[in-house]
């Protein structure tokens, strides 16, 4: 691809040139006109397209008016992120897309990695906008950045040095002493251009979709996690990402996004790791100290329609203390600030189910719901390895420090064959790699695999999250479904015609009770399904309540009087990780009525699908090492999928 090479040089030249030239370029790009025919031209090799969709009016292969499930990863870091670079990751955005498409790439620890479950359908590279590309450039001894005291010791392969370097960065960030040279817009622009080039190269409508994005790495005053990924709908993007170096208040980001939208550049922000926010992510108080009001709720809802409910650094659906009656709430829970051992003390405001409950209360009080959130999962890989959340094929997410089992506590130390009696519980250690989960994929229902169709699905929240397996889940609500809906050949067509899909609003209908269609299918390469559940939240006497209903059981079992499916008896052999192949279903399907439905109560409903138990990644690591699993860790997980909610809107 000689054309590519020249284009890149030209970009560097342009940005590294005189200030006037740089400014001219940036202004051009911000208007959406790519400066210099060449930059625009080289975007589209014959095999790829710079635009999202197919040609005018053409339907792509596989187009389905009833919509297909597509799986992807919307949280991916490469060597352009400062932390990934410190962690010795050298995978480029180009490598990340190659990995997503099923190719193998190199890992910082020296081995090659590759997806076992086949290519993903879509991916967004989302590097940290702050100091984007600076660590990479600083590693060039000819770069003036390499002379900065800050950068000394940043490029070590020694584990201790790496962690010290990372901590030094975090400390400098907190004390605001990071040299401004590292945020030189020319450097950021070069890296941002590299992200755009890789996305343009790999976007191929009908086969694989790339989305442009970046991470806005915001924090509360004590380091509470307020991170968001910004995902763009098209190839036209701002000249520079809006980062926390401009403002650490997410409201400023949303205002910037409003301005981009006015210029025809639609984007949405997806918060993640609310579990590490210590209650700030969905707080009742804004960052400026004012209470949540209607204008804030509108601004937030407009810009943040989705939340990343699960990823490697834990699952944020709910916490056992917030959902004491949910037996499955304790799933890959992280109770520490990100990257430190500081304990979380406020779970409310940090978990999604509680936010949904708070959201419907706000809807009553303000007229707008600021937390009307659809769900996705994603990996947050810092290895440039989208979708690397497969339990049997797990290599964690931060390069050298956790790339090998011994580093993440899944095999006994010192080459021992057994675990010492005093094996510590390191789940809450400073770097709790052993508590991290192989979790997080994004699912969307879209007509075809194109940027336009997938972004539209994200916008309307017709999305779902999984803990890694490609479980497909459908969810509809309506008042006029025919009673044979489940046994018709056109179930989905009818469901769209007479109902609304996940992510939508169900308006009240003369006091009638709605019906809910729940339909899930196993990942053909993973385990069998055990049960389908509906999680309901509603307002009763001014309080938001929640309840988990089992709605469909595997193996022909019926929901018992206690509202639960009986145990289907599925087991997994912990010596081989071989599951019981006679238990569980390939599909779960039901038409459900809420036995407690009250037409006057505002409510939300979402689906949770549970697989049979299967080996956790730490058990797979142990088996490959010929040693028992770490006794301090759960040997199995119940993989799962979550649909976006449907909101019931009572008439006033």
């Amino acid at each position: 691809m000689p054309a590519m090479k020249v284009r890149r040089t030209s970009t560097i030249a342009c940005l590294g040139g005189a200030a006037t030239l740089t400014a001219a370029f940036l202004i051009n790009a911000s208007n959406g006109q790519q400066s210099g025919g060449l930059i625009a031209a080289a975007r589209a090799a014959p095999s790829s397209s710079a635009t999202g969709g197919a040609g005018s009016g053409t339907r792509l292969p596989g187009h389905n008016v009833d919509r297909n499930a597509y799986f992807g990863d919307l949280h991916v870091h490469t060597y352009l992120s400062f932390d990934a670079y410190i962690f010795n990751v050298r995978a480029t955005p180009n490598d990340a897309y190659r990995f997503a498409k099923g190719e193998s790439i190199g890992h910082a620890s020296g081995f090659d990695v590759r997806l076992q479950g086949g290519p993903l359908d879509f991916t967004a590279v989302t590097d940290h906008a702050e100091y984007l590309g600076a660590w990479k450039e600083g590693n060039d001894p000819n770069s003036p950045l390499s002379k900065l005291p800050m950068m000394q010791g940043m490029y070590s392969r020694d584990f201790g040095e790496i962690l010290r370097a990372y901590n030094r960065f975090i400390a400098a960030r907190r004390s605001n002493t990071i040299p401004p040279e590292l945020a030189d817009p020319a450097i950021t622009s070069r890296a941002w251009r590299e992200v755009q080039d890789a996305a343009a190269l790999h976007n191929s409508p009908g086969r694989f979709t790339t989305l442009l994005g970046y991470e806005y790495t915001g924090s509360g005053p004590a380091g509470q996690n307020l991170h968001r990924n910004v995902i763009f709908g098209g190839a036209r993007v701002p000249a520079l990402p809006f980062s926390t170096l401009q403002s650490g208040d997410p409201e400023s980001l949303w205002h910037a996004m409003d301005e981009w939208r006015a210029k025809g550049m639609d984007a949405l922000a997806i918060p993640h790791n609310s579990n590490g926010s210590d209650g700030l992510m969905f707080d009742s108080v804004r960052r400026n100290g004012a209470p949540v009001d209607r204008a804030y709720a509108e601004l937030r809802a407009r810009n943040e329609p989705l939340v990343e409910i699960t990823q490697i650094k834990g699952t944020s659906e709910t916490h056992p203390s917030l959902s004491p009656n949910d037996e499955w709430a304790n799933f890959e829970i992280m109770e520490r600030y990100i990257g430190t051992s500081v304990p979380i003390t406020r779970f409310a405001g940090g978990y999604v189910r509680q936010a949904l409950r708070d959201g419907i209360i706000y809807r009553e009080k303000l007229g707008v719901n600021p937390f009307k959130l659809g769900f996705i999962g994603s990996s947050d890989t810092h290895n440039g390895a989208p979708g690397s959340v497969e339990e049997p094929n797990y290599f964690s997410k931060t390069g050298l420090p956790d790339g090998e089992p011994i580093r993440r506590g899944s095999v006994p130390p010192g080459g021992a064959k057994i675990w010492p009696a005093d094996t510590p519980d390191n789940r809450n250690a400073e770097r709790p790699y052993q508590a991290w989960g192989a979790s997080g994929l994004a699912g969307v229902w879209a007509e075809e695999n194109s940027r336009d169709a997938i972004f539209a699905a994200l916008r309307r929240k017709e999305t779902f999250a999984t803990s890694g397996p490609r479980i497909k889940v459908r969810f509809f609500a309506g008042y006029t479904f025919s009673q044979d809906l489940l046994n018709r050949p056109d179930t989905v067509r009818q469901a769209y015609a007479h109902g609304i899909p996940m992510g939508g609003d169900l308006l009240a209908s003369k006091g009638r009770a709605p019906q809910f269609l729940v339909w899930a299918q196993r990942d053909p390469r993973a385990g069998y399904l055990q049960r389908a559940q509906i999680v309901k939240g509603w307002i009763e006497d001014g309080q938001a309540k929640e309840k988990v209903f089992d709605v469909s059981c595997s193996d022909g079992l019926k929901v018992g009087a206690n509202g639960r499916c009986p145990d289907n008896g599925a087991t997994v052999n912990l010596k081989t990780c071989e599951p019981d192949r006679t238990k569980g279903d390939v599909e779960l399907r039901t038409l459900w009525r809420d036995p407690e439905f009250n037409p006057r109560q505002r409510a939300f409903y979402y689906v949770r699908i549970l697989e049979n138990p299967s080996c956790r990644w730490s058990t797979w690591d142990a088996i490959r090492n010929g040693t028992p699993p770490n006794p301090k860790l759960l040997p199995t997980v119940m993989e799962r999928a979550w649909s976006s909610p449907i909101w019931y809107e009572p008439s006033r």
């Binding site: 030249a13 040139g17 025919g37 031209a41 589209a44 090799a45 053409t58």
Partner: protein, 279 residues
């Protein structure tokens, strides 16, 4: 000459001291003028200021205030002065970063200068014809299947499918189980089928004769009987659908051509001597 003779009439003007002073004053004036003319000028014009402001706005999402703009301009002046002084002292020589930046800037400038004319339709069509494979859609099939779920509680899927296949071949209709995936596809690639059902299913579809029910085909979900209705070979997308991509690719190639030509021309303008290589 006449004037000169007039001057001679005045005794004052004939004084050598006066000549000396006059000459000195003239010389002083000339030197002052000359040195002022030699003082280099740094101009920050309106366009520069506008660009500074816009660049700032890009980063901060609002226009700079008057004070901020003044600071920006001041910074810009300092930068220019330092840069000029550095060049005057020859600091740009033998500096790899400066050299690299200049080279990159030249490459970029040369691209901008050599404007590529708008290609006409015939040119684009010809380019499209030359690179047809690049605009192909993979081969696809129209296929339907009857599905017998592994979950069914009565008759096991394998047995049910055997009976059903017989009935289908006899032209009778058969009711299978519902599936979350479509039971009929109008236009699907085998790659998509492999993703959703597994390799075995995709291979069976690949091998199936047209218009006949075949099976059983085992997937991760159960047993399928399949019938391929149509095969659509890999197909070149029509020019009209891909015109913008064709144009982009054509422009990219022309740019690269221009770049190559420019570099070749430079090679001719300069004599390149490399140690150890024959001249």
């Amino acid at each position: 000459m006449i004037r000169f003779s007039n001057l001679r009439r005045s005794p004052f003007l004939r004084e050598p001291l006066v000549h000396f002073l006059l000459f000195g004053a003239l010389l002083f004036g000339a030197i002052t003028l000359a040195s002022q003319a030699r003082q280099p000028v740094v101009t920050i014009d309106a366009q520069d200021i506008e660009q500074l402001a816009k660049y700032w706005e890009l980063q901060n999402q609002r226009a700079p205030t008057r004070v901020e703009l003044a600071a920006l301009i001041n910074e810009r002046v300092d930068e220019e002065l330092l840069a000029r002084e550095a060049i005057r002292l020859g600091l740009d020589k033998e500096d790899m970063i400066v050299r690299r930046r200049l080279a990159q800037k030249m490459a970029f400038t040369s691209e901008d200068v050599a404007a590529i004319p708008e290609p006409d339709e015939r040119t684009l069509q010809a380019y499209f014809e030359q690179h047809r494979e690049g605009y192909a859609i993979a081969s696809r099939v129209a296929v339907q299947h009857v599905f017998f779920s592994r979950d069914r509680l009565g008759e096991p899927p394998q047995a049910a499918s055997t009976l059903a296949l017989r009935r289908l071949k006899a032209g009778q209709t058969v009711l299978g189980d519902p599936s979350l995936l479509p039971l009929a596809y109008a236009d699907i690639t085998t790659a998509d089928l492999a993703r959703d059902y597994g390799e075995e299913f995709a291979e069976a579809v690949d091998k199936a004769p047209l218009g006949q029910w075949v099976g059983p085909v085992i997937s991760a979900f159960g047993v399928h009987l399949i019938r391929v209705e149509r095969r659509m070979p890999s197909e070149i997308r029509p020019f009209a659908d891909v015109r913008s991509q064709v144009k982009a690719a054509w422009l990219a190639e022309r740019r690269e051509d221009e770049n190559r030509k420019f570099r070749l021309a430079l090679r001719k303008r300069y004599k390149v001597e490399i140690a150890g290589l024959p001249q």
